[in-house]
């Protein structure tokens, strides 16, 4: 089965906007993949005039919020870096146990990459630029710049949501049969990448990156080995 990889448009966000933007995107994707019986929940963003849809599953909401918290912590610890969240859907297949693998194997059939470029802001100063090298324009100029930036981000976020809708509509054959469950019907995973493995032009190279990313999201043992490898590479 092919693993469809969808790279979403990169968004430039400020620290205080991370939570809303990620919630909007992650819930929109999951709503399109929660193919069990759902009662949709419309949610209005506070920072933007956008209404997105949640599938209404409390467990999903909890897990997403947890991952967003981790992402925010990661961003604060590693500022000035592009950050990525990978939302993967997989099927669980039983496999014969080996030394390095569990009996259970995950076959990923879809991955969504959410790319955020977070402007660095220390805690407690949301909404303002605190780069000491940049002189903050006084008065109306700064407010106008913020408004323009906010408007641009809202348009970009809307583009990302339409991008998700188009991907969902264009690619349907790879979706597994719908199990008879309510709410989220497929197991999923949210991984926060600490470094950027996306160069922005990987749509064509998606299979290679997908396989690499699929390796990242493999079973626990392999994941541990790979993380060790990556850590060593970083030290070098």
């Amino acid at each position: 089965m092919n693993c469809e990889v969808f790279q979403l448009k990169e968004l430039e966000v400020e620290h205080f906007e991370i939570r809303e933007v990620l919630r909007c995107i992650l819930h929109t994707v999951l709503f399109h993949r929660a193919l069990g019986l759902v009662r949709p929940k419309d949610v209005d963003l506070e920072l933007f005039e956008i209404t997105y849809v949640q599938c209404g599953d409390m467990e999903v909401e909890r897990k997403i919020d947890e991952k967003i918290d981790q992402f925010i912590d990661r961003v604060e610890k590693h500022p000035n870096k592009k950050n990525q969240i990978c939302l993967s859907f997989y099927e669980v297949k039983n496999k014969q146990a080996t030394w390095f693998t569990n009996r259970v194997e995950r076959l990923y059939w879809e991955q969504w990459y959410i790319n955020l470029n977070v402007a660095h802001h220390p805690k407690g100063h949301s909404g303002k630029s605190h780069n000491s090298k940049i002189v903050v324009d006084p008065g109306d100029t700064a407010a106008e710049a913020r408004t323009a930036r906010r408007t641009a981000l809202e348009a970009s976020l809307r583009d990302v949501l339409f991008q998700i809708i188009r991907f969902v509509n264009d690619k349907k054959d790879h979706v597994p049969p719908i199990p008879n469950l309510e709410g989220v019907s497929f197991p999923y995973e949210i991984i926060i990448s600490r470094f950027c493995i996306w160069d922005g032009n990987v749509q064509e190279d998606a299979p290679n990156w997908a396989s690499y990313n699929a390796q990242l999201t493999c079973n626990d043992h392999e994941r541990t080995l790979l993380l060790l490898y990556v850590f060593v590479q970083e030290l070098k």
Binding site: T28, F31, H32, L35, G36, L37, V38, R39, P40, K41, D42, V43, D44, E49, I50, T51, Y52, V53, Q54, C55, G56, D57, M58, E59, E61, R158, L161, F162, I164, I165, V168, N169, D170, K172, V175, P177, I178, L181, E182, G183, V184
Partner: protein
């Protein structure tokens, strides 16, 4: 395609049903987010109700209705969608075209007459063009500007060559075909649900269903299977979004929307806030001047009657103004006849009388109208005073005019004060010098006597009552006067120009007359 079993529906029947339900569900999704009508079953736009987790599926399944389970999407009630889908249930080959219309007033209409939540049910399905699902009287009297801001087209294009998953001749493939169709239709509906909330018209819908303000525009819809194409100008303002078609073995399901992207000018138009406001001091409320009609009424002398009176609300104020009959009022209200609002109060028939009110005493207002009497209580001494005044009235000079009757009434009251020297009454009259003047000029002036105590007013009223009921001093002429006075004060309206001075004069005359009679009686005894 062979049917699998006798009892189970055949594959074509399943697919037919999936297609029909897809049309119905799509219409439901669209109108649910464009039709401002909200049924009582619905939750708000930001619904909090959540679908159950898989672990608790058994307990939560009962909350879903059968139609919710189609495509695993439970939606809010939308009567407009249910009304319009019957036609396509019979023939799903006809396209479902939904026009979302923006209706704006063109001046001269009362925005308060608009009811965004009312009656936006679309017209019945049909091929012929119909009105835009909005009653003409719901948007005021002004002219309306209508503009199609969205056009949704949902149709099943029948034709061979679809690359659906189904393959002929295979039982498993036919089952897969309907399952694949169902899965893909489900995915399309998910996308549709998210898309309708991202389009500009959704913001208008949310503004309309917001109860905070009355908008000067409204949203209507029209569902039909045939519409006129857009003009070039209209098409230039429109953008299009086409959903990927869902292929079936015999055709494909198509879904697209043409929408107007520039609706910011509509949202920026002024609106009328209708937020409720509490008015604590409305006219007639106890909080707004509870003693408004009794400006001189002392706090300490409040009776149950006045307390009940104070608690009257604005509705009772209206009933006051309607009634003009004489209304018994407590003694404590005797002096308020000058206040015009007092008259309204007096017309209320529902006043409970306090226990200390023994009888009704009437005083006049503005010329002693028959209905302008109020009651005051009587006292123990009144019968004695009444008898004495009866004697006095026998010697009263005859006068058949109503003025004399009036004079007798008022002067007897004053005579009582001037002649008997009762300390209690004297005290009342002495203290009520201003009241004497005010009693004489009953039109437009206040009654300060009440300010000095309601008991004194009741005494005056008792005297007046006594004099009214007392037999005339002169049998020949005063009897008729008394009888006429006993007839219920019908002649009280005739003389309206008596002053207190006249009453005092009459009182002095009676006093002199009484003294004369007493002297004569003493002399005769002697």
């Amino acid at each position: 395609m062979a049917s699998s079993r006798g009892n189970a529906p055949s594959e074509p029947a399943k697919m037919e049903q999936i297609i029909t339900e897809f049309l119905a569900k799509s219409l439901h999704v669209i109108l649910e987010s464009r039709c401002p009508y909200v049924s009582s079953r619905n939750y708000s736009g930001d619904q909090i109700s959540s679908s159950p987790s898989p672990s608790s599926s058994s307990s939560s399944s009962s909350s879903f209705r059968p139609r919710d389970k189609w495509f695993n999407l439970a939606l809010r009630d939308c009567p407009a969608a249910f009304e319009n889908i019957d036609f396509w249930r019979q023939s799903n080959l006809e396209p479902v075209i939904v026009d979302i219309v923006l209706i704006k007033r063109r001046g001269g209409s009362d925005p308060l007459n608009s009811s965004p939540k009312r009656g936006l049910g679309g017209n019945m399905s049909g091929k012929e063009p119909c009105s835009y699902g909005l009653k003409s009287d719901e948007f005021g009297c002004g002219k309306k500007i209508e503009k199609i801001i969205e056009r949704w087209v949902i149709q099943y294009e029948k034709g061979c060559g679809g690359k659906g998953g189904g393959m002929s001749g295979s039982k498993r493939s036919t089952c897969t075909s309907s399952h694949v169709l169902y899965k893909k239709s489900l995915l399309s509906l998910r996308s549709l649900y998210a898309t309708v909330r991202l389009l500009p018209a959704y913001k208008l819908f949310r503004d309309l269903i917001s109860s905070a303000r009355i908008r000067l525009y409204n949203l209507g819809h029209r569902v039909s299977s045939f519409v006129e194409p857009f003009t070039r100008g209209e098409e230039a303002d429109m953008q299009q979004f086409v959903f990927s078609p869902v292929d079936t073995s015999c055709g494909r399901l198509c879904l697209s929307v043409s929408y107007c992207s520039s609706l910011l000018d509509v949202r920026s138009e002024p609106s009328i806030p209708i937020s409720p406001q509490f008015i604590p001091e409305y006219v007639g409320s106890p909080m707004a001047e509870p003693r408004r009609w009794f400006p001189s009424f002392p706090e300490s002398q409040s009776s149950p009657f006045t307390r009940a009176f104070v608690r009257r609300h604005s509705w009772s104020y209206e009933s006051y103004s309607k009634s003009h009959s004489s209304i018994p009022v407590s003694k404590q209200e005797a002096s308020h006849s000058k206040n015009p609002s007092y008259e309204e109060y007096r017309t209320c028939p529902d006043f409970p009388l306090p226990s200390n009110v023994d009888s009704k005493i009437y005083v006049s207002k503005q010329g002693m109208g028959a209905s302008d009497y109020q009651t005051i209580s009587t006292f123990d001494k009144l019968p004695l005073i009444k008898d004495e005044h009866r004697k006095m009235s026998d010697e009263k000079s005859s006068s058949n005019s109503s003025s004399s009757k009036l004079r007798s009434r008022s002067s007897s009251r004053l005579t009582f004060w001037g002649g008997y020297g009762d300390s209690e009454f004297f005290g009342a009259f002495v203290l009520d010098n201003d009241a004497k003047i005010s009693l004489g000029s009953r039109s437009g002036s206040s009654h300060p006597s009440v300010q000095h105590g309601p008991a004194k007013n009741s005494q005056v009223g008792a005297l007046v009552h006594m004099f009214q009921n007392a037999p005339p001093l002169r049998q020949d002429s005063s009897c008729s006067q008394q009888s006429s006075n006993m007839d219920g004060h019908k002649n009280c309206t005739q003389d309206s120009n008596k002053t207190i001075a006249d009453a005092l004069n009459e009182l002095r005359e009676y006093g002199d007359l009484k003294d004369g009679l007493l002297r004569k009686s003493k002399d005769s005894k002697a």
